[in-house]
Symmetry: C2
Subunit: 389 residues, 2 copies
Amino acid sequence: MNITITGAFATKFGELWSSSPRSLAKTAATEAIKDAATEPLSIDALFVGNMLSGMLGGQEHLGAFFREELGLSCPAFKIEGACASGGLAVHMGVLAIRSGMYNRVLVLGIEKMTDHKPEDIARALMGAGSEGERISGATFPGLYAILARSHMDMFGTKEEDLAMIAVKNHFHAVKNPKAHFQTLLTLEKAMRSTCITDPLKLYDCSPISDGAAAVLLESNNSKHNKTHANKNPVTIIASQVATDSLGLAERTSLIELSATKQASRCAFKEAKVSPADIDVAEVHDCFTIAELLAMEDIGFYTKGNAAEAIRKKETTLGISKKLVINPSGGLKACGHPVGATGVKQIVEIVDQLRNRCGERQVNHAHIGLTHNVGGSGATAVVHILRSKK
Amino acid sequence: MNITITGAFATKFGELWSSSPRSLAKTAATEAIKDAATEPLSIDALFVGNMLSGMLGGQEHLGAFFREELGLSCPAFKIEGACASGGLAVHMGVLAIRSGMYNRVLVLGIEKMTDHKPEDIARALMGAGSEGERISGATFPGLYAILARSHMDMFGTKEEDLAMIAVKNHFHAVKNPKAHFQTLLTLEKAMRSTCITDPLKLYDCSPISDGAAAVLLESNNSKHNKTHANKNPVTIIASQVATDSLGLAERTSLIELSATKQASRCAFKEAKVSPADIDVAEVHDCFTIAELLAMEDIGFYTKGNAAEAIRKKETTLGISKKLVINPSGGLKACGHPVGATGVKQIVEIVDQLRNRCGERQVNHAHIGLTHNVGGSGATAVVHILRSKK
């Protein structure tokens, strides 16, 4: 059963010190519900994707927490899978509708990070890693640096190639009024930036952000849905999850994320499309190396060949002849409020497929893909969406 | 679509200082899988119910964490809804199978609490409450004391009535080798125990426990399932969730949990049975008043009449002519490792319906009910199970 996304909205991402989790959730949900031309009381279930609210803020039970804030009357659930919490919440929404138990589901992804001390955030984020990694004092920049170094050693990938991904994503984000960073980045500036964990520099890393995003999902059979048929509805034609070991040490390969490969393979099979059919993708570039790995693991490029595509700017808006990657600016430049990210990716693709992205609109976008990762690749969620036109 | 529970197992509950979360999960899952006569690699999805691992232990991403530990190869998810996390995880497993995307699902409920300082546990548990309750320094004994006082004021319920619930549940737990407390409790001892939050005394409160429980769910259509048909399979004939406000202050009534009423009403409708059809129930007695409220809100007794039934020992094993409540000892005496509780309730009912409860076996148990609550009633999950015989 395919599922229609009838409403989608993401808040501004950034250091939103004057916004509370409540206000961010309210804005995202209210606007998504408005976009669907429906009302809160008609919603059958709420799925909240969030990672850090308990560890940083002491508040759990977020399903009930936000249900109340949003004035809903339905059952509510919180899903946690580290930085893939948002994507997993969307997948749960899909399961809920396909089960036949719920017809209209609101999925909310949210994270409020910048109110907390950087060292507390870094410690909390390591909740996504393995026990061994946590005990040994590893951080996610360090873990992704290992992946970057492995890829460089194997394929001759250069620091400049990674920096070019950041340059592209900043270029896209300038056209996105909701992006955390709306500033152009030059290759020189990226290459000169502070080393964080060699070979990753400051501009290879996504920021700590606040933000929320919401989508309203409906069964294709629902009555309300049919009244929307004329508004170019977007359909979820694949929703797949794969899980791998938490820690890098337990993996058989450090030049790929096998969960991404598996979830993508299943998603393409479910959607009956191939990587070549995708017009626009939002992939999980928590670090620049992550986008490069995603380009290969999803199957857009063969292993070892993404760097050349980056050098040729093949995935840059306005230059790309086919696939544009991370038109929103990605996690790198649009921002990465962890629980919100997976839902915001869906919002961006919906907006692209509905042709309402203004300056960053990808021409002729018909089929889009989202790719959300938890930890250093322990969880991967892939969705494929299609517009009717 | 009905779903069969082909395997079920709960570990010993208690202060398990020599057991790690890993070892508890491993025991529960391995035994549940063995009970189903299947193997880990045949499992299509893992749903983990847990509340406190992030706040107390710094470890999130528990889906991937336990999937790895259990040697599974499937996608994995963590569901959080305070003390209802386990029940919600079972509900998610039901949705997953009904969606048609997953055929065989393992649900694991787990909590490791006693390694932490009591004040840290109390603080973390308040993550289940409202912001106002947390800021004002309320605790769950305090919140349930308000409910108890309201019920006493309205219906003349006595402290002795509440104590009798504890006496019954300790009486049941003596017959349960896995119970946290295997000691008889007298009414006199209960009444003399330390006041925690008036009118609740020490023996009105469930303990802080460690433990894990697991169930294996399968589609009734699955091939493997059919080979099990001769082992008196237990079927989930209803799975319902309802959500209410997080805080007591936002409720319209303090003499009932409306989420329990709503989830129960929907569950009886889905199962096409009535409260009078239930032979055995595991209800959420985090405090004695909670069992009394559940007896009324589920519909076993009309509002205000449960206390009399308690005085008459109508729900006590060996005395009851029909419905036995909390034969395991309930949260009160079997223990309450929060994320594990909702799954352990299912395990107990499965064991009762399969006639394998030894000394605490309820005679002629054919239809059973579980009732799992999050917070002071913000989340309620009700399942109804039926044996074939």
